[in-house]
Symmetry: C2
Subunit: 447 residues, 2 copies
């Protein structure tokens, strides 16, 4: 039986980063990955014609310093998300184009929306990021959903509809699924609500030439002899100050184990001894969000000629938000439409042809009939991927942070936890995953 200093489970950005840091420190490690690739929820799909799309996380933006540094180190170029021209809103059966960040709504709704965004930003500043349960009035905000807060905050329906669209795009969940305390935590974790929503100066500001997988692939390449793919971990046993990691056809031991998986996946491993009650109860309470990415690939980004930036929103149909995801050189036109939260749960039930028809309908509504004839259509959901089970991330429902939050990061014996869900900064993003990998490596090196 092979023995290591540390076994890392899960080769997403968190696991890759932890592995690298421990190797740097001279440790004997192995990184086990269930899939036949690294990257986890970040996966760039390439096509024969040279084009590619990010099926998972795609963007990078200001203050995501670790991810920028990694990209730079591995010579992965970034480029601005296209946002020249007007945005589009299809609302109450009317199509409107507008410049800038302010959607064409009645002034009362705009003021209400603006006030709500300012209010959540202000509330978020009160959050204790490292210990959200210590936030002032934590119990109060953790007892209500984001939906409840929105209903109170916004008397105007249009404001609520717009806020909901933003919230769905931010969390890939319905506002009724998320604790208000979590919404506040997440908002501060990612700087503010504006950063979360926006392209320019926001979390969607830039993309990667070659796709968001590229930094992970190149990083993995530097220590590929320490990575074991197609190795599904089934059981982790702690005994005699050693940890035994068992999977289909293998059994390895180490002094320490890092589980770099989303909590709901971490909870499915068979632990001996069983996890402490609160750790298990927590992993029962951190479901993954629900999201489809729909992609239509065209010869050209034809909407640009019409003066449109490809950023659209609607509260009708399944696709509610679109982005121009064309390559840097605009050699193809790639339109990406998000299906989010409850729309995604309904989309799950559709046949592939129905999904395609619905997405192209929405694209045509925004960008004209030409949108109905892409060279290629594809869509992707992570909810039926056994080794992810939903995206973007594990979410805190009401009550979880205040009663079980401590169990999120606290090591259990020689098992340590990583993954973007454990990060206090850029929780839910690649940046958070990298930070969690660095944090967990330090945890182990210090212990």
């Amino acid at each position: 039986m092979q023995t290591y200093d540390t076994i890392i489970v899960g080769a997403g950005y968190a696991g890759l980063t932890a592995t690298r840091e421990l190797l740097k420190a001279g440790k004997k490690v192995i990184l086990l990955e269930a899939r036949d690739r690294v990257g986890g929820r970040v996966h760039t799909q390439h096509f024969e014609d040279g084009s590619y799309v990010d099926l998972g996380a795609a963007w990078v933006g200001p203050t995501q310093d670790k991810l920028y540094a990694l990209a730079k180190e591995f010579a992965v170029e970034t480029f601005p998300t296209y946002d020249t021209g007007k945005s589009t809103l299809f609302y109450n059966n009317k199509l409107k184009h507008y410049k800038g960040l302010i959607p064409p709504l009645p002034i009362g709704s705009l003021l209400s929306l603006d006030m709500a965004i300012k209010r959540i930003n202000k509330l978020s500043k009160t959050v204790d990021l490292k210990s959200p349960w210590n936030t002032p009035d934590a119990a109060y905000y953790d007892s209500m959903t984001l939906a409840t807060w929105m209903n109170r905050q916004m008397p105007f329906n249009s404001a609520k509809v717009m806020f909901k669209l933003a919230a769905e795009a931010i969390w890939a969940a319905d506002p009724n699924e998320i604790s208000m305390l979590h919404a506040m935590f997440y908002t501060k974790s990612c700087r503010d609500f504006d950063t979360l929503m926006n392209v320019k100066n926001g979390a969607q500001e830039e993309r990667f030439v070659g796709g968001a997988s590229l930094p992970a692939l190149r990083l993995a390449e530097t220590f590929k002899e320490h990575i074991r793919l197609k190795s599904v971990v089934r059981a982790i046993t702690q005994q005699d100050n050693q940890v035994i990691v068992k999977g289909d056809g293998f059994e390895l031991t180490a002094s320490k184990v890092i589980v770099a998986l989303p909590p709901t996946l971490a909870g499915r491993i068979e632990y001996a001894p069983i996890m402490p009650a609160n750790r298990d109860q927590l992993t029962q309470r951190m479901p993954m969000g629900t999201v489809w990415k729909t992609y239509a690939i065209y010869d050209t980004p034809f909407w640009r000629e019409a003066g449109l930036n490809g950023l659209s929103a609607t509260n009708e149909g399944y696709v509610t938000v679109t982005f121009d995801n064309s390559p840097k050189d605009a050699s193809k036109g790639i339109m990406m439409g998000f299906v989010l939260g409850n729309q995604a749960k309904a989309f799950n039930q559709l046949a592939p042809e129905e999904r395609k028809a619905s997405a192209l309908d929405t694209f045509a509504r925004f960008y004209g009939e030409k949108a109905r004839k892409p060279l290629k259509y594809l869509d992707h959901s992570w909810a039926e991927e056994e080794f992810t089970r939903g995206c973007y991330a594990g979410l805190m429902p009401t009550g979880a942070w205040t009663s079980l939050g401590k169990a999120l990061r606290e090591p259990v014996g020689n098992i340590h936890w990583a993954g973007t869900e454990t990060s206090d900064i850029w929780n839910g993003y690649i940046e958070g995953a990298i930070r969690s990998g660095e944090r967990v490596a330090q945890e182990i090196l210090k212990s």
Copy 2:
């Protein structure tokens, strides 16, 4: 490889009932159970001196007809829960004794509490039990927690505290963890809020001589050759219209499989093909409640001599509710204290001696110094039991019923679902488990 008509996974009351029904219909079946005993969340522990306690479900009450019928069939006697004399309330540092159902609170609080109970009863009548997502205003009630509703409904803090005590005892969860729609569903499912709370004419009206396991044990005895204990199911594969069930050291096939486990456990089985997205997303969102039962066993039920019925409540400390759980003949005095919801999550962190000291402190506060010297103290939590992971039952957080509720009972290919969480009547109770077993057997016999 042995082939069956149906394999049933999980020998709680649901699985046992399904097995029996299918055997009656002449089917070749096997019931697989992970533990070395049947009964699931119902488990009576016996001691050398002949006394016994129910570590899990314990009571039976009016309209639980299936459970009464089963008890009668197997000659298991029931007897009234002791409730002669005064109840006890320790609130705001004052100890009070009172007769009847109405606690000694200021009249404003009492009226507020009464109004809230009437209101939830009225709201519950609107629920569509078979399809809670079709309830009028389902989206509205599913977007708020029970805590949010309570805050709105009860301006008086004392009313809220009392309602919270009741809610915690009913759901083994904090009101901030439960969707208001689920609270309404559950209330109707179990007749009304009064039934849920009360001893007389309520869900706690009677107990079983010999313990609540006895009907299960005697039922299992009638087909023990069809039960395989210590058989943990790890994987279920559907192929060629057959289902293959794999566990540690066994592999069986059948035309149909019934998974009679709580949803969070059902979600941990490895399915091939993987579950439909919404089924998996649902099982990520139905956490088990959190509860400890603490027991002190004395020579006699000495509180009875003081005119107390053993029913007490407090909002201080860990144990918040107690019941007289002495045997029918009062040959011992057995006091049972519940630690519920967030108190249970905190209790999870205590050492055994701290738990004991805390529970006995509370018993002494209610019943005097004599309570500090039991013959025996024991406590039990289901959260660290690998094959249950919490009690009483899987709960619906906000948003789950309306967006994913359909996936709770809907068969997936040849896999059918049972367990008390799938029952429309007496959901969360033994009665619901039995009903789910009958329902799933009919589902299979008709298909």
